[in-house]
């Protein structure tokens, strides 16, 4: 084994560790953020007992869950019951393996890029891991040996399969524009500005100030992606799988302690993943609207990325605080009758536009 191989191995392991830790802390923070924002939107204060502004509340919750007794129902399918939360969490973490979150940094003469692996099928990898996440939910629902979780699991599998189609279809126009499935390449394709817009005539110069982000080209695809993404994460208003008011918590009704915490972690990781995908594919990734400040070097793009991701996390929370849950048949109708045809239409339209402009 050569030295470069060892160095690569160390760098990769370090990256995995850092990403793992950062994501874990981030989830704890997002849980706090969500509770706080939802509370203020409902004229409440939210958590404020532990730490400044209640920042440590999520930590305390996590510790409580860790020390709680894990209970397995007697009717449960024991192995699967224990496996399901692990699958959920693993899929959520693995999705991050190919998500880039910044440019690169020079450490000890070794250039380290801000991602674990730049796959040339990066986007597909994220989607594949997203589709594996269904198993965690479905198996949890089935293996609990109880009614409500089973209903939650069935609902969720139908929902996730349906919305995955719209999600994937809405991303194809972006892939066509960028000509690559590698997320880093897609971000690079979005640097710069639009430039003068010919058909606007004299006001076309405005384009010189508009960044070259795909949201300005593929707005319908972006909206479809957003809706399908919210559904894919099982978040309100599409949280049919959990539906506390109808299904007593849905697929994780029977879970407690650390296993429940793993589901919780997975859900919020999915929120981060979908947010990051939206930023990378439609909002130019770490490309800011301001020129790069050379003093800050690699920090500036990273900050831009984090800020954009947080905007989307806020959007998720905002939707949750605002919208009531959809009825199940409405959910399916939206998925199959609105989102998928719309995504297909936009795919055809953008394909024709690209063919025309070549």
């Amino acid at each position: 084994m050569s030295m470069t191989f060892l160095a690569d191995l160390v760098v990769i392991l370090a990256k995995i560790l850092i990403v793992f830790l950062v994501l874990s802390v981030l989830v704890i923070f997002i849980v706090w953020f969500e509770r706080k924002v939802v509370a203020h939107m409902q004229s409440r204060l939210g958590p404020n007992r532990w730490g400044p502004f209640g920042l440590l509340t999520s930590v305390a919750d996590g510790m409580k869950l860790m020390f709680k007794e894990p209970i397995t129902p007697i009717t449960a399918d024991h192995v699967t019951f224990a496996l399901a939360p692990g699958i959920s969490m693993l899929a959520a973490f693995l999705a991050f393996a190919s998500i880039p979150f910044g440019t690169s940094v020079l450490i000890f003469g070794h250039r380290a890029t801000f991602e674990i692996a730049d796959l040339n099928v990066g986007l597909l990898w994220v989607l594949a891991m997203g589709s594996l996440a269904v198993y965690g939910v479905v198996l949890a629902g089935w293996s609990s040996g109880s009614k409500y979780p089973l209903l939650g699991g069935i609902r969720s599998s139908a929902q996730m399969i349906s919305y995955e189609i719209a999600l994937s279809l809405s991303l194809i126009p972006v892939v066509m524009s960028a000509g690559s499935l590698s997320l880093r390449t897609i971000v690079h394709a979005q640097s710069g500005v639009i430039g003068s817009i010919g058909w606007l005539g004299p006001v076309g110069g405005v384009g010189k100030f508009i960044p070259h982000w795909y949201i300005f080209y593929h707005l319908p695809a972006f909206l479809i992606f957003l809706l399908a993404g919210v559904a894919e994460t099982n978040r309100p208003p599409f949280d049919l799988a959990e539906a506390d008011t109808e299904l007593v918590g849905g697929y994780h009704t029977e879970y407690s302690g650390i296993k429940f915490a793993m589901f919780f972690l997975a859900e919020y990781l999915h929120v981060v993943t979908i947010s990051a995908l939206a930023v990378l594919l439609f909002l130019g990734g770490w490309n800011g609207v301001t020129p790069n400040l050379p003093v800050l070097g690699w920090i500036w793009p990273l900050l831009w990325f984090v800020a954009k991701v947080f905007f989307f996390v806020f959007l998720f929370v905002w939707l949750r605080a605002t919208l009531p849950r959809l009825r199940y048949d409405k959910l399916m109708a939206v998925g199959w009758r609105v989102l998928i045809p719309a995504a297909l239409t936009w795919l055809v339209v953008s394909g024709l536009a690209m063919a025309g402009s070549v």
């Binding site: 203020h40 004229s43 409440r44 404020n48």
Partner: protein, 266 residues
Amino acid sequence: MPDERPPEKDLGPLRATVNVAKGLWVTLRHLWRRPITIQYPEQRREPFPRFKGRHVLDRHEDGLEKCIGCELCAGACPADAILVIGAENTPEARYSPGERYAKVYEINYLRCIFCGLCVEACPTEALVMSHAYDLASDSRDSLIFTKDMLIADAPLQRRPSKEDLAAGEDVGDFRILKEGLARARAELGKPQRPAPPGAGGRPPAPEEGRPAGTASLGQSASAEGSPKRTEVLEGAPPARGTQAPGDVPPPDPSAPRPTDENISPR
């Protein structure tokens, strides 16, 4: 099988989007508003003037109990929450003006529905309802309030005084003023001291020099900024640390507890 439900009116995509946007705008607006909640154990909401909280047994200005042990309150109570056992006043141990006094007076707050009928029924206006509202406990026994918990240390003031109104203080109908006892003393001179109490009794008049208003209701805890529940239930045994040690004789074991057997069936 044909679908029997009437066809649902579908909002168009535009209307739906507009509606969603409206909702989002509402929540966003509220994000910047001040929360309307209060931080309960630290801050307390002052109830409305006629709020019906837990009961208090009043005293006369001279320190004698107003309750005459007539049991009308117990009779009026629709929930059978009140137990009164009267006894004769004697010249040696005089607790109330008139012939009789309440030897045992207990209210079971697990049963009480706070309707106020007992207060209506009281011929001497001895029983009033205070503003104390946090009556939670983790034991059933501690929610049966005995006479020494219910009785006020000082006469209650029934109407806001002119001074209070001038000071602009929002006072309820029944409210203990911290100065109440002092003023009563100043007007009446030294209050009449009853004879040393017998078994089961309790010195009706407060000791001299004791800080007045220790039994103020509802507002004491917030005024002192103490979040402890035991002190909120002023008059409950743990809160009596403020009293002089020799002040209270040990509770009479012979006094009957208001169990289901000895609460008279209606």
